[in-house]
Symmetry: C2
Subunit: 201 residues, 2 copies
């Protein structure tokens, strides 16, 4: 949040090599603690304790708490762009998969905070944006295939399509505590978004 050292990677050379084991254990502890404690109760002292590692070992790899959290997220598997049913069904499935991941991991606790930090921390944005972009791929791929099949117009901008599908979902997920995100509700939102994608403006 303040300074960031010039660390992260180290090229092989003389000296004791970094323990890959330590890296794995730290990221495991990070995820577990984010889930159990929430972002507010999440401290690096707890990570160090649970991973049985010194704080120096953590800061040697990641320059800040936020970078560590992003690194932990980076290991979560990407969304799988299913291709089994109709366009709407494929989108509904990937959206529900996303909702499920957010709810069962630390994402719900950490993502809004990271978004807030990102705005004013360029180094954090550099780590955060690729992660986010990777999550956006699934929806884009599904839309892209629909365009190839001729179900959606060729001129449709993929970013616009993605924003239309995920925007309302993100809103209900993070901004409103009570938004309806049942399969029926999601299907309704996605169906309407798809209708908006059809034809030109």
């Amino acid at each position: 949040m303040t300074k960031q050292a010039a660390v992260a990677v180290r090229l092989p050379g003389p000296g004791r090599p970094r323990s890959e084991e330590a890296e794995r254990v730290i990221l495991d502890a990070t995820m577990q603690l984010l889930v159990s404690e929430g972002y507010a109760g999440f401290t690096l002292d707890k990570v160090a304790a649970q991973a049985r590692v010194s704080k120096a070992t953590i800061y040697r790899r990641w320059p800040s708490k936020e970078h560590l959290v992003i690194a932990a997220f980076d290991r979560t598997p990407p969304l799988t762009p299913a291709d089994k049913g109709s366009l709407v069904e494929n989108l509904v499935n990937v959206v529900l998969e996303f909702i499920n991941i957010v709810r069962t991991t630390a994402l719900s606790a950490a993502l809004p905070v990271l978004v807030g930090e990102r705005a004013k921390n360029p180094a954090l944005a550099e780590a955060f944006d690729p992660w986010l972009e990777r999550r956006r791929m699934a929806v884009k791929q599904i839309v892209e295939r629909a365009i190839e099949r001729g179900e959606l117009p060729a001129g449709l901008d993929l970013n616009t399509a993605e924003d239309m599908v995920m925007g309302p979902v993100i809103l209900r997920l993070f901004f409103y505590g009570k938004g309806d995100l049942s399969r029926i509700a999601v299907r309704d939102l996605v169906s309407r978004a798809v209708r908006g994608m059809e034809g030109s403006v």
Copy 2:
């Protein structure tokens, strides 16, 4: 973020009355500092200094930093649901007004952080949700009038409509640093959202 005292209001009675002047000056300083320092650089010591007020005077009114920030936001004027043009034009105008407010006030710095806190602080949610709901009214009203005019189907859920209009915008505003939010881009998003609202699912 941790404890919250039982304060906020005080009924008139014996003793020195609370200074309304102090309240005003504190909220002014809060807004100014949020803009100039960002949420991370925003501290209550700075607020006290700039407002020439003791911290006790602040905490006597608001139980936490977050509550103070929300109180400051609460004074920002509501969105005006213009009713001058077509449905799409009215929505575009109110969305652009919202974007402008976010960009020229401290909202961009503070809103994501507050959203993150809201998820795990019930007392904060209690203060935050009404504020948010009030901002959602403008779009809902415009949509409601369109339904009355018969431009949109009577069965359309207002919350769904609002999510479809604002979702993509919020996404570009807070999650992506670089999203296109020009008038042309907004008109494109809104037009597509409106098309999604038409007809049943």
